[in-house]
Symmetry: C2
Subunit: 314 residues, 2 copies
């Protein structure tokens, strides 16, 4: 099996588009429940009916089958809402009903409203149950050797529960509530690749975002079909030849230093974690490695890497 670049995009950005087939889209959307918080009349995420059902009759939640909405009714501000949500998921964790809750991270992810105000925080592992947008940082780190780019590519530990043994970006991680994207990047560069902080602060360059809407499959771990819209802040960093990333924990098995061709071949074999392939495609496009002359799906890929998500973003 060889994957085209568009196949790789389709794997990550798997939620349907309205315009591809309006009737199918509306039919598919209408099976979901919209997540809302009281007195905010718009969707913050989509829940599967099987997930929404578990909130029926829970205190502080209102499940409306006519509107197909699940509304958090408890709490008047971010702090109170976050407390109610935490209590709900801690109770659900005890019942062991949802597999995704078994990977509790003790890390809070923010959910924003239309005025970019924080509406609530939610435990990281619970966010795909609510189908809310999550944020992360990804770094492409490369070296120039004799005018040729070489990329530092880590392989994830084989025993990792999610995407074990797959290839990753040099540094990648979720942005916890209260942390800015660049500060998150600096922290992850130290933790995941042991990169010197002053080098990262002075040389890492922000290059935009990629965004996509994923329907989770078995490789993500836990329940399948959960909805996961994501936005990744993308950075790149040209490293001096003598700076070698080193795994800072046991999540990475080893780092490879690969040419464009080696990276592209591994992508075509489907070896990269799907959203990491998206970040690399974006890099290749920005740097004139993928062009309209060598990639037949160029326009579609560029647009799909930057999906406008249907929920409020930061």
């Amino acid at each position: 099996m060889s994957y085209t670049n568009l196949d790789l995009v389709n794997e990550c950005d798997s939620f349907p588009y309205y315009h591809s087939d309006p009737n199918l889209y509306v039919a598919s959307i209408s099976t979901y429940y919209e997540l809302r918080v009281e007195s905010h009349d718009y969707a913050l995420g989509y829940l599967l009916p099987s997930v929404a059902e578990i909130f029926r009759n829970l205190p502080n939640w209102d499940l409306n089958d006519n509107d197909r909405t699940l509304t958090l009714t408890g709490g008047n501000n971010a702090s109170e809402r976050s407390d109610f949500i935490m209590k709900t998921f801690l109770a659900m964790k005890e019942t062991r009903y949802f597999k995704v809750l078994e990977k509790w991270r003790d890390e809070l992810y923010p959910v924003y409203g239309k005025d970019k105000e924080l509406l609530f925080n939610v435990e990281r592992c619970a966010s795909p149950l609510l189908g809310v947008i999550t944020y992360g940082v990804h770094l492409v780190a490369y070296v120039m050797k004799d005018y040729e780019m070489k990329f530092w590519i880590p392989r994830r530990a084989r025993n990792k529960q999610t995407y074990g043994g797959m290839l990753d970006n040099a540094v990648a991680g979720g942005i916890a509530s209260g942390e800015g994207p660049f500060e998150s990047l600096v922290r992850e560069c130290g933790e995941e690749a042991s990169l010197p902080e002053d080098l990262v602060r002075s040389k890492a360059k922000a290059c935009g975002t990629i965004s996509y809407f994923c329907i989770r499959n078995e490789r993500a771990g836990g329940e399948t079909r959960l909805l996961q819209p994501e936005c990744q802040y993308v950075y790149e960093l040209e490293l001096p030849e003598d700076v070698v990333p080193k795994p800072g924990d046991d999540e990475v098995e080893e780092f490879y230093l690969w040419s464009v061709q080696e990276v592209q071949e591994a992508m075509a074999r489907g070896e990269f974690k799907p959203n990491c392939a998206m970040v690399l495609l974006d890099f290749f496009i920005r740097h004139g490695i993928l062009t309209s002359e060598n990639e037949k799906d160029y326009i579609e890929i560029v647009a799909r890497l930057h999906r406008r998500l249907e929920f409020p973003t930061l």
Copy 2:
């Protein structure tokens, strides 16, 4: 009046999004007619009712008020369809009914189907009447002076009918049918800025596309409210200090060499042609000049610069 960067995006990408308000979107879409060609059961563009009406009872065209479609029934291949379309618009030009047809260019723009096959060509100035996607190239040319980027910015001739006197990108132009994006860029670099061909071929770098869906206003010239979805192939070129762009025709008044700050100030004053501002925003994002730390609408802007258009693209 000072424009935010999101204001500049809104001006160019002015067609509504389904998700912003599904009811409003569907209501607004349902006033348009879909352009189709026979035995291809999907939209290639949107026409205003006032435009579609002119095709009623014309030979080779079928206007269906129930489906709200305008279908080209004449022609079995791209060549035959293009001939019928040319005849239609030449006849319309004679009547002087549409102002946009008075700027006849004798330049053909391609329209593609779902399999990326050429369906027909249409005279450039007529394409906004049909509301089909058009393609162009844009080049950002800059110089590094003492580690600071300086941008070559042309001012359009005051007497130009469209966007006269406004600021532009170093090189920009439409891609005619049969021409590849890079070849188009090389040609325009010679015509518009007198840049040496070998320099452009060896140093200009493809950096992706921007795409947007514009509702034309009075500044575009001709009828207003016409629908204009566009895709621009974006290139950048670092010029040596001794290469100075020179207007190759009378369409450009002069070239300025401006710092980031000077460019951003002119953008905030609304002095740039709208789609040129989009290309510059994309450049500033790719180069870490606009970041999530200094641009509050960062995520929204990145997504809006790369709209997935609802008609087939090349």
